[in-house]
Assembly symmetry: C2
């Protein structure tokens, strides 16, 4: 039973709230029974696993938790990165909100066979908010990293000003749905490389666009249905 | 120029971070130029409007901001509630995350003609996180409140265990897409009243379901396309 706040495992957990420490160590933290169970289901072995009351004094575990409510269990895992392959995957460019990144990891796990591919300017998928928003899908479907030039397949660029609706697109898999930051959108390098540039149509008088995670999810739904229909 | 932290307008703004104060006063706060502009575009007149440096000392405005970064402008507005009508609207039941509520307000503004209808157990749409996540759509498309029995039209219940895919549904508008909390789902009262219970199909080995806001957005996209096609 850990009874000292100076314990090295507790210190590690606290340090891993910072991206710099996650990058240098290649480790990350998952909190709560649901996430720990999702990791186990996906065959991940924790580097550290501390149950409140069994392995560590509850107050000490709460003190290193990233949740206001504290945690009953905290695990430390080694980061895994997938290859950017699949009949359907999604490339995010400049999506800096960790909740959005985590949510799209969950959506890709639900609706596609490939991973979320992270380009420049995206939030760290192994940060606490992204891990939580992925609801465990991070373990089943680890993210990938790639530059635009490394993407394989037909790039389908989402652009709210495009004239073609995503439902009217014709393209053969493998497809990579490309989604940019909410204001800036996708950079010219992605738009130039795209096999098609399409919009999710918005009603007259509506907002300029959907939230980035919403747009990615609707796009995955539409393209996933397309691939299934054409198969 | 306001130079005292005891100024009544500043005190009001701070108080309105609490739901109890919003409920009793019928007011709410919007922060930042984008939201203030969205309010103006939608024809809302603020009860209070304070620009940093012009109307109030910057440090004092930052101190009542709900954002870590502080705000350049803060407005106070009177809450408005819409009627639960439209060819396509979405009913949320027990969706307690304010970010999800705000995001669905933005999605409904993009993809439907009706409002977000809030049932029991939903987050306050006029709380700071929900207002921010709506990205101004709250002003263009205020939410509605209703009990299940007050909903008009064909209720389409989203249930991840349903056997019918939402794409295979046949139903005539007006349609009300019903979305429940992520774990509990929809209560029997909604399922019993529904004209159809459908799922957004998830891949084998995928997560049990999508995030509530994602499910609502995909459902609105699918039903909106259906209505447009059949019109």
């Amino acid at each position: 039973m850990i009874t000292s706040p100076d314990n090295s495992q507790l210190k590690l957990i606290r340090k891993l709230q910072r991206k710099k420490e996650r990058d240098s160590s290649g480790l990350f933290v998952a909190e709560g029974e649901d996430l720990i169970e999702a990791a186990e289901d996906a065959g991940w072995t924790p580097e550290v696993l501390l149950f409140s009351g069994d392995d560590v004094e509850p107050e000490l575990l709460d003190r290193v938790s990233s949740l206001g409510s504290g945690s009953r269990v905290i695990g430390v895992y080694r980061q895994r990165w997938a290859e950017p392959v699949g009949d359907l995957s999604v490339y995010l460019h400049g999506v800096g909100d960790p909740g959005n990144v985590g949510t799209v990891i969950r959506s890709v796990h639900a609706l596609a066979d490939g991973p979320v591919i992270l380009g420049p300017g995206c939030a760290d998928p192994f940060g606490p908010k992204a891990v939580r928003a992925s609801m465990g899908s991070l373990f089943a479907r680890p993210p990938a990293r790639a530059e635009v030039g490394q993407l394989m397949g037909a790039l389908i660029a989402l652009d709210s000003s495009a004239e073609t609706a995503i439902a009217d697109l014709t393209a053969e898999p493998p497809l990579v749905l490309c989604v940019g930051a909410e204001r800036e959108g996708l950079p010219p390098a992605v738009l130039d490389a795209a096999a098609g540039t399409v919009a999710i149509p918005v009603r007259p008088g509506g907002p300029e666009s959907l939230n980035a995670a919403m747009a990615a999810t609707v796009g995955l739904y539409e393209l996933g249905n397309r691939i299934a229909r054409d198969a």
